[in-house]
C-alpha cells in the first residue's frame, strides 16, 4: 500500500511545483495521474520513486520510506518517458541490467530475462540492438526491463506519449493484461484523458499553477477492457467528466491570474 501524506514540492526559487497531496493507493490498483504539463504529475511520481525528495510531508510504501522498500519484501520499478535503453547493449543486455546491478547470478538472470521478454512478446529480438527496433518495440523492451526484477509496484512516466495512437492503444491493452496477470500495482502518468479512462481503476486529476490534485475519479468498469470499451457510452461519460473537470480548473486558474 502506498500512502502519500501531505507531500509537497517547492523548488529553491520558490516555485510551488506541487501543493500538499494526500493519496492512498491500495495494492492491485491501476492509478493514473492525469493533468496538463506543469501540474506536477511527473514530480509526484518521481517523489514516490525516491528520485526527488519531498519538500514537506511523507511518502510511505508499505509503511516504510522509499529507501527501505527492500525490507518490505516489495520491489518497485520505473518506466521512463522514453525507452531509455543503452544503445551499445543488445535487447537482452538492456533487460538484464537491473539484475546485474543487483548482483543476481548469471543463470538465474538468463531465465528471468527470457521470461520477461516473452511477457512483452519480444523473445525473437533477444539479440537485436535497440536501434533496430521501432519506437513501440523499444518501449516494450523498457517495460520488460521494468518487469525483470518481479516488481509489485510499477511507476510509469508518460511511457507511450511519443508513440502514434494506434501503437499506443495496443500497448495500453497489453499493459492491462500484464497488470492483471502479474497482479501489479501501477501508477501511470499521462496527459491523455482517453488513456486514463481506458486504463485506470482510479484517475487522479491534477491542475497546474500551482500543481495540485483537484479530483479523484473511480472508473467502475470491469476488466478485461477490450477495444470496444473505447467506443462505449460509459467510456464517453467518463471522458466527458474528466474533460470538464480539467477545463474548470484551467479556467479558474486563468481567472485567478487575470485578477493579479
Amino acid at each position: 500500500m502506498i500512502e502519500i501524506l501531505s507531500a509537497s514540492k517547492t523548488y529553491p526559487n520558490g516555485t510551488h511545483a506541487l501543493q500538499p497531496v494526500d493519496l492512498k493507493i491500495q495494492e492491485g490498483e491501476f492509478i493514473t495521474l492525469l493533468g496538463p504539463s506543469g501540474c506536477g504529475k511527473s514530480t509526484l511520481l518521481k517523489m514516490i520513486a525516491g528520485l526527488l525528495p519531498a519538500t514537506d510531508g511523507r511518502i510511505l510504501l508499505w509503511n516504510k520510506p522509499v529507501d527501505q522498500i527492500e525490507s518490505t519484501g516489495h520491489r518497485m520499478s520505473f518506466v521512463f518517458q522514453e525507452a531509455t535503453l543503452m544503445p551499445w547493449s543488445r535487447v537482452a543486455g538492456n533487460v538484464r541490467l537491473p539484475l546485474e546491478l543487483q548482483g543476481v547470478t548469471a543463470s538465474d538472470a538468463d531465465q528471468r530475462v527470457n521470461d520477461s521478454l516473452s511477457l512483452v512478446g519480444l523473445s525473437k529480438f533477444h539479440d537485436s540492438y535497440p536501434r533496430e527496433l521501432s519506437g513501440g518495440m523499444q518501449m516494450r523492451v523498457s517495460i520488460a526491463r521494468g518487469l525483470v526484477t518481479n516488481p509489485t509496484l510499477i511507476l510509469m512516466d508518460e511511457p507511450f506519449g511519443a508513440l502514434d495512437e494506434i501503437t499506443r492503444n495496443k500497448l495500453d491493452q497489453d499493459l492491462l493484461e500484464l497488470w492483471q496477470k502479474k497482479k501489479l500495482t501501477v501508477i501511470f502518468v499521462t496527459h491523455s484523458i482517453y488513456e486514463a479512462v481506458y486504463l485506470s481503476t482510479r484517475v487522479v486529476v491534477m491542475a497546474a499553477r500551482p500543481g495540485r490534485v483537484i479530483e479523484e475519479v473511480s472508473v467502475d468498469e470491469p476488466y478485461p477492457r477490450g477495444p470496444e470499451f473505447r467506443v462505449s457510452t460509459q467510456f464517453a461519460k467518463y471522458a466527458k467528466h474528466l474533460q470538464e473537470s480539467l477545463l474548470r480548473a484551467s479556467n479558474a486558474g486563468e481567472l485567478a491570474e487575470g485578477a493579479v
Binding site: 520513486a49 520499478s77 520505473f78 521512463f80 543503452m86 551499445w88 547493449s89 543487483q102 536501434r131
Partner: protein, 258 residues
C-alpha cells in the same frame, strides 16, 4: 556507395597528377621549382634508404606522442569529471596549452630536455593532447539522464555507473577526439623536428625537407612531403576503422539502410 567513395577521389587524383605532369612538361618548368610526378616517384625509390629511415623516425615520434596524449588526456578527463571544482580550476590551463603555438615553446622544451626523442615526443604530445581531454570530458558528462536515474534506482555503485554507463556513453566522443588527435600528433612531430633542426640524432622527414631545401634538391623535398601526407591519411583511415569497429552500435557508424 562504397565504390563511389573510392572511385571518385581516385579519378580526381589521376586528373590532378596528369595536369601536374602536363603543365610541368608544357611550360618546361625547371626541376628545382616543380619536379614532375614521375621524377618525385623516381626519387622516392632512389632515396628510399634515406627517406625510409626518416619516415620510421617521424612515425616513432608520432605514435609515441599519440599514445602519451591518449593516456594523459583520458586521465585528465577522468579527473575533470570527478568534480566540477577540479575542472574549473584546471580547464583554463588545458586551453592555455592548446592556444600556445608549439613552434613558440618547442625551442624551450628542446633546451630543457636534452634527450632529443623525448623532447620531440613532449612537443608533439602537447599538440595532440587537447582534443582528447575536451572530447573525453564532454563524453563522460553526456550521459542520458534517464539511464542515470535507472542506475540510481537500482542502487548501482560508483564503479558500476562508471564502467557500464559513463565509459560506454563517452566512447563516441572519445573516438571523435582520437581522429583529430592522431593528425595533430603527426603535425606536432613534424613541427618539433623543424624546430629541432639538425639537433636530433635520428633524423625525421622534416629534417629531410629542410636539408633538401638547402641543397635545392626539390624532388626529394616533394618525396618527403608526399610521405608525410600519406602518413596522415593512413593514420586517419586507421582511426576511422577503429571507431567503426568499436562503435558498431552507434548512429554515426550506421550505413544508409536505415
Amino acid at each position: 556507395m562504397n565504390t563511389q567513395k573510392i572511385i571518385l577521389p581516385a579519378i580526381v587524383a589521376i586528373v590532378l597528377i596528369a595536369l601536374w605532369h602536363g603543365m610541368v612538361k608544357a611550360f618546361a618548368i625547371p626541376e628545382f621549382l616543380v619536379p614532375s610526378p614521375g621524377r618525385v616517384a623516381e626519387t622516392l625509390v632512389k632515396d628510399w634508404g634515406l627517406l625510409g629511415g626518416s619516415l620510421y623516425n617521424t612515425l616513432k615520434i608520432t605514435f609515441l606522442a599519440f599514445f602519451c596524449a591518449v593516456v594523459l588526456g583520458v586521465a585528465v578527463a577522468f579527473l575533470f569529471v570527478q568534480s566540477k571544482f577540479i575542472e574549473a580550476a584546471f580547464f583554463p590551463y588545458a586551453v592555455l596549452l592548446q592556444v600556445t603555438p608549439i613552434v613558440a615553446i618547442a625551442p624551450l622544451i628542446i633546451i630543457w630536455v636534452k634527450e632529443p626523442t623525448t623532447s620531440l615526443v613532449i612537443c608533439a604530445t602537447l599538440v595532440a593532447l587537447f582534443p582528447i581531454i575536451s572530447n573525453t570530458t564532454l563524453g563522460l558528462r553526456s550521459v542520458n539522464p534517464g539511464l542515470q536515474q535507472l542506475f540510481k534506482m537500482n542502487r548501482a555503485t560508483r564503479w558500476q555507473t562508471l564502467t557500464r554507463l559513463r565509459i560506454p556513453s563517452a566512447l563516441p566522443y572519445f573516438f571523435g577526439g582520437l581522429r583529430i588527435s592522431s593528425g595533430l600528433a603527426l603535425i606536432g612531430a613534424v613541427v618539433a623536428e623543424f624546430v629541432a633542426g639538425t639537433g636530433g640524432t635520428g633524423v625525421g622527414l622534416a629534417y629531410q625537407i629542410l636539408q633538401s631545401g638547402y641543397q635545392l634538391n626539390i624532388p626529394r623535398m616533394f618525396a618527403a612531403l608526399l610521405l608525410i601526407t600519406l602518413t596522415g591519411v593512413i593514420l586517419f583511415l586507421l582511426m576511422v576503422a577503429l571507431s567503426k569497429w568499436a562503435l558498431s552500435w552507434h548512429e554515426s557508424e550506421l550505413s544508409n539502410e536505415h
